[in-house]
């Protein structure tokens, strides 16, 4: 089976979706002729023409707003916001419009759009190219929020997202675009070509939204992670030697609560890790759910390991980033509690 980068897998997903359904259109800043600044849409305009894949003015509001109108017409727009940090001008369109259109019109109009955006740090992007805004979207009824952690999932999840009848926020951890980040920033990145999760089947396949995946089986502790943090969790488990179970959530909304509850009930301990700032972050939701559903099985307090409550600094990126050292410390603390 061919191995691909996450970028290639994402591109293949759009290719497959565009080939299967004439109503799928792809657009955004630089995505047409050039193929996107991360090259995720490279070749799509040449293959499908300028009416299916095109460049737009620098207006995230315009990209998402027109996508909503197109979806109301009957198309399936899959649009790119160049960095998740740029999504805020489009926030009102996503939150007040895309998310609510089905509900407020009682199904007369629907909004099957996908908004793709590179997210997270680890590439020295500073505070305007490193943000993880997932909690801003998981708080919104009517949206679905997906964060893949590898090329295989990215392709299957994106194909599912494009086929989904509701709006999907698709957050792509850009630290993982070219290879898995194995948790230690000083270690060289393993290319996806040498990683089993770089195996990407050709053609069409779907990974259902709302289903988590167990990345490492264990009995002592559950780590809830997604995106880049899945690899940080693996490194922390290796470093500490703790028999940790690592759950890759993959979809944050809707959330696979059954998988979380089953794992935490088995291990009796839970550490949550995410890159976004802590206060009111998605980890708070996870902690509340675990507390509610697994209280009598918990043998230690739930700990959150997250980015600090500061903007993402440029020079201090790796001090901000919740790496395996911080996570490992929390895992040991949990085991000793």
């Amino acid at each position: 089976m061919p191995r691909k980068t996450m970028i290639e897998a994402i591109r293949e997903a759009m290719d497959v979706a565009m080939e299967r359904d004439d109503n799928v259109v792809v657009f955004g800043e630089d995505v047409g002729y050039f193929g996107g600044v991360f090259r995720a849409t490279q070749g799509l305009q040449q293959k499908y023409g300028t009416s299916r894949c095109f460049d737009t003015p620098i207006s995230e509001l315009g990209i998402v707003g027109t996508a909503i109108g197109m979806a109301a017409y009957g198309l399936r727009p899959c649009v790119e916001v160049q960095f998740a940090d740029y999504v805020y001008p489009a926030y009102d369109q996503i939150v007040s419009e895309a998310a609510r259109l089905r509900y407020r019109s009682n199904g007369q109009f629907t909004c099957p759009i996908v908004v793709r955006m590179p997210t997270g740090g680890g590439i020295f992007g500073g505070q305007t190219h490193s943000q993880s805004p997932e909690a801003l979207f998981t708080h919104v009824s009517g949206l679905k929020v997906v964060v893949p952690s590898n090329p295989h999932d990215a392709k299957g999840l994106l194909i599912s997202a494009i086929a989904d009848p509701d709006p999907v926020i698709f957050l792509e951890p850009k630290r993982l675009y070219n290879g898995p980040f194995d948790g230690h920033h000083e270690r060289p990145v393993t290319p996806w070509a040498k990683h089993e999760l770089g195996e990407v089947p050709a053609g069409h396949y779907e990974i259902p939204l709302g289903k988590a995946a167990v990345r490492r089986e264990g009995k002592a502790l559950t780590v809830l992670a997604y995106g880049t943090m899945v690899y940080v969790a693996q490194a922390a488990a290796e470093d500490t030697g703790i028999d940790a179970e690592i759950l890759d959530l993959r979809t944050l909304l809707p959330l696979d609560l059954d998988a979380i509850v089953a794992s935490v009930k088995k291990t009796g301990r839970c550490v949550i890790v995410h890159e976004a700032t802590r206060t009111s972050g998605f980890g708070a939701e996870l902690a509340a759910l675990v507390q509610r559903h697994c209280f009598y099985h918990l043998e230690a307090p739930i700990i959150r390991v997250t980015g600090w409550d500061t903007p993402y600094p440029h020079a201090q990126e790796w001090d901000y980033f919740p790496g395996p050292a911080r996570l490992g410390k929390a895992m040991i603390e949990t085991m000793e509690a």
């Binding site: 009416s51 299916r52 707003g65 509900y103 007369q108 009517g142 809707p254 059954d258």
Partner: protein, 410 residues
Amino acid sequence: MSEDAPLRFHVPEPEVRPGDRPDFSNVKIPQAGTVRRPRIDEDAEQFRDLAYSIIRVLNRQGEAVGPWAGTLGDDELLQGLRHMMLLRAFDARMLMAQRQGKTSFYMQHMGEEAVSCAFRKALRDGDMNFPTYRQAGLLIAGGYQMVDMMNQIYSNEADPLKGRQLPIMYSAKDHGFFSISGNLGTQFVQAVGWAMASAIKGDTKIAAGWIGDGSTAESDFHAALVFASTYRAPVILNIVNNQWAISTFQGIARGGSGTFAARGLGFGIPALRVDGNDYLAVHAVASWAAERARKNLGPTLVEYVTYRVGAHSTSDDPSAYRPKTESEAWPLGDPVIRLKNHLIVRGMWSDERHKQAEAEILDEVITAQKSAERHGTLHAGGKPSARDMFEGVYAEMPPHLRRQRQQAGV
């Protein structure tokens, strides 16, 4: 030390305030029939005069004059009068219903009936409007059932939107009426997207976006213009300038630009200003813009110069910010009376027939109201089920919502 005088902060103010004498001397009104009618493929650079003037057809004698006259036949004119009278009667009854506590909120169209009623007649079935909250005339003139509008206003058991939307925030896809948002301006750029989709699919349908003078300050307005211009979307971009954004006069959103229509010129979009109280002029301009869109010539920006006679909504009291008699001083008159006078001049109508029509229309509205109220009002009678609250957030209800529905016990 600087020798410059201190800078002064500028905040625009309307000419008059409560207690002052109404003054519309700043509204420059050309004589009916004097503004030219350009070719539909004329270059946007040639539109400066049309973006600063006001296209008018009906003169003070009630005659239709000039190059924009003649787009409507006798029956269409009679129908237009009927639609405007229906909308006015509907408004009056629903305003009263709100005062009687049958619903929470209402917004009336008084003075602006011609804009949406005449515009609708320039569209075809299958075209899509992305309206704001004062274009119910699109539904009335499109043959949508008043009883369904009332059910929506009452949020009763027959409400097509199951009680989820504020009153008057209708949605009627089959009637070319997009779901109304409470966040202003958002629909303007969505209209452009819908029109782009129609062009992408090689369809023949066109879209119309609607925005008020105040909401043109939203970024969505500018995004809509740049996307419409860039992709030559088959869309009519309508700005209804009714002078007031709740209590804020149109000069605040307009800033230093000459007119709202003039904003189209910088985007290379042909722009026209039209007398929004002149049913014939509105229809003529809308037809012109629709033809441009259908012939693949791209977007048109239209500013409707009109006046919001009533309050912004049932939660507003305009006497607090403008002279009470200002609406009477509005120089473009009442759209219903102007069309009525035109029909009388043409020998097709009379005061007696008008009175009779008013009575018939009132009966029709009351009948619809009784029928709607049989399904309940906001606080009495049938209402949508609490179970409906959880439906339709997603195509398929996800597990967390199912759990919450169980928790709510519905």
